[in-house]
C-alpha cells in the first residue's frame, strides 16, 4: 500500500493486547458495553482506534479450519456490535493464512469482528511451514498485491453508501426485533430508537415500499424466535421449566 500512496499502519497484536477473555455474561448486548465486567481492559480503546481508521485489516491463521481461539475471543468481546453495528466508515480487508487447510465459512467468521464495515476483499495466503515452490510464491505475491490495491482504492472513497433493499430490510427487521425487546435488551432498543437507518442517508421510495411489504412476512416467518409480547403469560424456553 505504501507503494501506492501515503499510508500509516498501526498493528494491534491480540496476543499482547490487554483484552480479557469473554465471560459470556451477555451484559454488553443487553445493557451496553460499559457494563462489561472486563471493562477496565483495553478493548474500548482498541475499538476507538478502529473507529478512527480508514481501513481495517483482520488477520488470523487458520487453526482447525477456522479462526484462532485468540481471534474468536476478540470477536466474542465485540459481539454487541452484531446488535449495534458501528464500523460504517471503515473498509475492511480480511486476511487468512494456513498451510493449505481451509474451512467452510472461514472468512464469514472473521468478518463478524467488524460489523457494519464494508468488507472490500478476502485474501487467503498459503503459508506452509516448509518452503514453497516459485510458482506458489508468485501466486501469493500477486494475491497480496491485489488485496492491498483494493483496500487502498476503497479507502479513498469516504462516502457512506445508500442502502439497497436487502440492507434496508435487515435494518428494519433488526429495529423491529430490538424495539420489542426493550425489557431484555434495553441497550439495543436504545440504539435503534428514532433511527431511519444505521447512519444518515437517503432511502429510496422503492426500498421503502418493498420493505413495507416484505417486513410483515419476514416477522411472521421468524415468530418463534421473537420474545413474547408484554402482558402475555411467559413460558421459558429452557428445558428446566
Amino acid at each position: 500500500m505504501k507503494g501506492i500512496g501515503e499510508v500509516e499502519f498501526e498493528y494491534i497484536f491480540l496476543k499482547d493486547a490487554n483484552i480479557g477473555m469473554c465471560t459470556g455474561c451477555m451484559s454488553c448486548m443487553a445493557h451496553g458495553e460499559d457494563t462489561c465486567p472486563l471493562k477496565d481492559d483495553d478493548l474500548a480503546q482498541i475499538r476507538e482506534k478502529m473507529l478512527g481508521a480508514h481501513g481495517l485489516i483482520l488477520s488470523s491463521p487458520i487453526h482447525a479450519r477456522g479462526v484462532t481461539g485468540l481471534m474468536k475471543n476478540f470477536i466474542d468481546r465485540l459481539a454487541y456490535t452484531i446488535g449495534r453495528p458501528m464500523f460504517f466508515h471503515q473498509k475492511a480487508l480480511l486476511v487468512l493464512n494456513s498451510g493449505g487447510g481451509r474451512g467452510k465459512g472461514d472468512f464469514a467468521a472473521l468478518g463478524f469482528a467488524v460489523n457494519g464495515a464494508r468488507i472490500v476483499h478476502r485474501l487467503y495466503v498459503l503459508t506452509p511451514w516448509y518452503p514453497l515452490r516459485e510458482k506458489a510464491l508468485r501466486r501469493n505475491d500477486k494475491a497480496i498485491r491485489l488485496g492491498a490495491e483494493k483496500l487502498f482504492r476503497t479507502c479513498l472513497d469516504t462516502n457512506l453508501p445508500a442502502p439497497g433493499i436487502l440492507d434496508y430490510l435487515m435494518f428494519r427487521f433488526s429495529k423491529a426485533y430490538n424495539m420489542r425487546e426493550s425489557v431484555h435488551l434495553p441497550a439495543c432498543s436504545e440504539y435503534y430508537r428514532g433511527k431511519e437507518y444505521y447512519y444518515e442517508t437517503g432511502i429510496s421510495p422503492i426500498a421503502r415500499l418493498s420493505v413495507g411489504v416484505l417486513l410483515p412476512i419476514f416477522m411472521m416467518a421468524v415468530k418463534d424466535l421473537l420474545p413474547a409480547d408484554e402482558g402475555e403469560t411467559h413460558k421459558a424456553a429452557r428445558p428446566d421449566s
Binding site: 482447525a64 477456522g66 516448509y130 413460558k235
Partner: protein
Amino acid sequence: MKIVAIMGSPKGKGSGYTVVREIERHMNDLGEVEFEYIFLKDANLGMCKGCFSCVPQGEDRCPLQDDRATIEEKMLRADGLILSSPIYVYNVSWLMKNFIDRFMYTHHRPRFFRQKTMLVLNSNGVGWKQAFVALRQALGGASIVHELSVSTPAYPVKNERAVRRSKKAIQIGAEKLYKACLNRRLPQPGIKDYLIFRVFQGGFTEAKELVPACYQYYRGKTYYYEAKIGPVKKLIAAIALPLVGFVAKHLL
C-alpha cells in the same frame, strides 16, 4: 456406559449445562449411564500458541504443560462424548474454539474411533449451521452420531410449540447417543475413508523428515485401526493414489 461432556461455555453452568443435564436424565432413563463433566472454564487448558509443534513433532512437544493429555485420556476411556457450546457470533465460543485448536493434531493422527459423539449447541436461534461446521472439527476420528441444536434465548418465548419441540429434540438426541454407544464395534471403512487414509499415509511418508510424528503414526498401518479391506477397495486405491500423487507434485 460412560459419557464425558466437554462444556464450552465461559459461564460454566449456563443454558447449555441445563440442556446436557436433560440429556443425562433421559439417558439414565434408558440404562445405567455415568456422566463426567469437564468445564473448559475451570480446566487447566492453556490458550494455543500456534507454534505448530504438535502436528509435525508430536503432542508431547506442546510448550503448554497442562491437562491436555489428561483430558484426552478421559475422552478416550469414554463410550460417548458430548461437546457443548453456546453460539457466540455465529460460531462456537472462544473457549470451545481453543479446545478445538488444542486438539487439532488429532486430525492428522485420528484416534477417537471408539467414541460416539454428539454435538450440542445452544443459542437464541441463529448461527447453527456455521457453528456446527466449527464444532465438527473438534476431534479427529470421532463418529458424530447426532447434532442437537436447542434454542435458549435470554427472554421468554411466545410459542409453546417451540418449547415442546426443543424438549422433544433433546430426548431424541439422548436416545440416539445411548443407542449408538451400545454398539461397540468399530465401523467398517468405506471407500472414501480408506482413500483418505491412504492419501494421508502416502503424503506423510513422502514428507517423513518434515512430519516425523505423523510418519510414525501411519507407518505399517493397513488402516487407522484393525479392519478388513476388501480387494475392490485396494484396487481402487492402487489406481487412484498415483493420480493424487501426480496432481500434488505437478499441479499444486
